[in-house]
């Protein structure tokens, strides 16, 4: 693997993380991080959608009329999101999770990361790097989602993946962890930690 590809994959996960550095896709990360299970399925769905729509848009990039390019991107993204939703609904194992995430799967369409990566990367690059860029951005998003969901489920419900952990020890659930503002505070903490480790991200 050459250095450029490696950069394409690692950058969105660490130095250019869509949530903590670009601060995109915040809305959905507030909504689906109450429980780990939901966050995991959401993360996987976003990875598939960002990866596949970047790939398709990159394949079409030379043919898309410039004036309607946003609309075409939106159609492609919407198609991928509906496909993911339909597939999740079709399997016995994922059906209850799809129910639980309800509207938020559909709202991946409005996730700024997807459109942002197509505009910024896929339209100017070859299909394979675009696919990797999309997937890596999804992973960067999913990683933060899972970290946030871990703390919110642990302290909000006392469980992990629905299995009692803290609640088995007699812990009283902290209701604030379940409410959306706590996700914002947790993301703020993650940004703080990341910036104090990666000093070059700090702004003056």
């Amino acid at each position: 693997m050459n250095a450029k590809l490696k950069e394409t994959i690692l950058n969105p996960i660490l130095k250019g993380n869509p949530i903590t550095v670009l601060v995109l896709g915040i809305c959905s990360s507030l909504a689906v991080t109450v429980e780990l299970k939901g966050a995991l399925v959401m993360a996987l769905s976003v990875i598939v959608v960002t990866g596949m729509s970047s790939l398709i848009c990159s394949l079409l990039r030379k043919t898309i009329p410039n004036r309607v390019r946003i609309i075409i991107q939106l159609v492609v993204v919407a198609m991928m999101v509906i496909l993911v939703d339909q597939v999740l609904k079709s399997f016995e194992a994922t059906f209850p999770l799809d129910k639980q995430l309800s509207v938020y799967i559909g709202l991946i369409i409005t996730n700024c990361i997807v459109m942002g990566r197509i505009e910024a990367f896929a339209l100017g690059n070859k299909p394979i790097p675009s696919l990797l860029d999309g997937l890596a951005n999804g992973v960067g998003y999913g990683l933060i989602l899972i970290i946030v969901a871990f703390f919110r489920e642990l302290f909000g419900s006392g469980t992990l993946f629905g299995i009692p952990v803290l609640s088995a020890l007699g812990y009283t659930n902290n209701g604030l962890m379940i409410l959306p503002p706590m996700a914002l505070i947790l993301i703020g903490c993650i940004i703080w930690v990341q910036r104090s480790i990666q000093k070059d991200l700090q702004e003056n």
Binding site: V34, E35, K62, T63, I64, P65, N66, R67, V68, I71, I72, V75, V76, A78, M79, I82, L83, Q86, V87, K89, S90, F91, E92, F95, P96, K99, S102, V103, G156, S157, G175, I178
Partner: protein
């Protein structure tokens, strides 16, 4: 080729839209049977949970086939009744036909104005009857099933579901077994001047047999569920008071 000309743009967008529509239509129609089967098993497992045949999560783990088998073996009949409490039809027990959320939603209008109503009662072989309820929570619909003992007054159990109530608050109507457990042993009382059954904010008065505690932090959801239960109980009133002992 000039990709910026008007003609090209129009043709290009048309082709993309038709293509995407075709893909989605194909996928949707080919996955529909599986999705419907999942919906149906979900509904039945909720009914079974309300009727105290195990827990929803256990049924989920056992899989769709086990849920259907158990339902078919234990259901005596599933009848449809009208506003005056008479039988207006039957749901095939052999096909395990049930009214899902969409059918309940459609019937909700009829239940409210009392015309053309056809709502199901699931009667199990052990004498337990399950009736559905449907209404509006805070963010979206709430619905569920209430199981009554053979006297059609005592509540054997209940199960509720919702579309988009806040997890951890309103979502407790579904996720908190303690909330559901409150229904067990309570009664439906049509002689109560206020409401046949009530969910009381701040706690139900001690000793009141037809009231339970509301969920703290979820006033609107509790209120919505209270209304859903009373509106639907009202619709079943004729049936429930007609044949107390069948």
């Amino acid at each position: 080729m000039n990709t910026n000309s008007n003609v090209y743009t129009v043709i290009y967008t048309t082709v993309v839209c038709v293509l995407v529509a075709a893909i989605l239509a194909f996928v949707s129609s080919s996955l529909k049977p599986k999705q419907d089967a999942n919906e149906k098993a979900e509904t039945i497992s909720q009914i079974l949970t309300a009727a105290q045949f195990g827990e929803k999560s256990e049924w989920q783990a056992k899989g769709n086939a086990a849920v259907l088998d158990f339902y078919k073996q234990n259901i005596a009949e599933a009848v449809l009744i009208d506003a005056s409490g008479n039988r207006a039809g039957e749901l095939s027990a052999a096909d395990a036909a049930v009214y899902g959320k969409s059918e309940l939603k459609a019937q909700n209008y009829n239940v409210k104005d009392g015309k053309d109503m056809k709502v199901p009662v699931y009667i199990f072989k052990n004498g337990v009857s399950v009736i559905p309820v449907y209404g509006a929570g805070l963010w979206g619909p709430v619905w569920g099933y209430i199981a009554l003992q053979s006297d059609l007054k005592t509540i054997a159990g209940a199960y509720f579901d919702h579309e988009s109530e806040t997890p951890g608050l309103g979502g407790k109507i579904k996720d908190d077994p303690a909330f559901r457990a409150q229904f067990k042993g309570k009664t439906v009382d049509f002689n109560d001047s206020k409401a046949a059954f009530s969910i009381v904010k701040g706690g139900a008065p001690a000793g009141k047999a037809n009231a339970i505690d509301a969920i703290s932090g979820a006033t609107m959801t509790s209120r919505g569920l209270d209304e859903a239960i009373n509106v639907w109980l009202g619709a079943y009133k004729a049936y429930l008071t007609k044949n107390p002992e069948e």
